[in-house]
Amino acid sequence: MSGLFSRTILQFLQSLGDDPPRDRTSELRVLGFPGRHLGSVQMTTDTALGVTKLVVCDKGEYNSVSIFSAMLTLNAQVPLEDIPYVVSTPLTAQHEGQYFISGVTTRIILPSGSTRRRVLRCHSVSLFSNGSQVLVRY
């Protein structure tokens, strides 16, 4: 199965620097692709990619209680409803109401305002080694 996923491609039709942004999804929808949604959580495209990868690519057993370690050690495949969004932590308290996926990478990108974003770093862990908790923007 891993061979199958190594061929999985995450494809973007994107607009680098379009301001105001264009809604590419509706442009693509009319072309007739089979579609899937990611639940009711509003998220940015990079988080959507992270969630998609968690759902379709990551393989193995997982334990929804310790999903973070599951993701790193067992490399679990995670059903959509079990994606661990973090709504509030000390680090994200000032961004109340925004969603984060926990435990994916070291880098958090926090949006403040509609177009401006702030980049923060937290603990020194990585996607590829076992480590402690980290956050990704909503």
């Binding site: 039709l13 620097g17 999804t25 949604h37 070291t106 880098r107 974003r117 996607l127």
Partner: protein, 125 residues
Amino acid sequence: MGISRIQSKLSSSLQLWRQIVIQLNLISRKHMRLLAGKENVVRFSHLSVTSAAALQASWQGSDTDHLENELSTKSVEVTTLSVMELMKERNIPLEKVCLLDPKAMTALGPEDGDGKFQWFLFGVR
């Protein structure tokens, strides 16, 4: 103060704003590549020539982050082709491409990773 001076001031601040937007987008694109992991390919399509060059250069920039260095440049591709042109070029049929769409009827599930789709398509706003 002539009109041309106002114009040039306006155009330079617009240019600065555009630069900021592009920089922020680059951060977000890098983040995408990171999230995809090294076993997947992230392909940015339908870029303008300028954007493609900027994005390409950003992968090859002096990156001291060991995390990003773990990802080979093979894991990312940048193209000016549209997704339809790319699918045609790579012989990927429409039904093998899953559009992530908030308005879709079906939720994404683990079974969608079991060979049903070859590509996952995101329309970036």
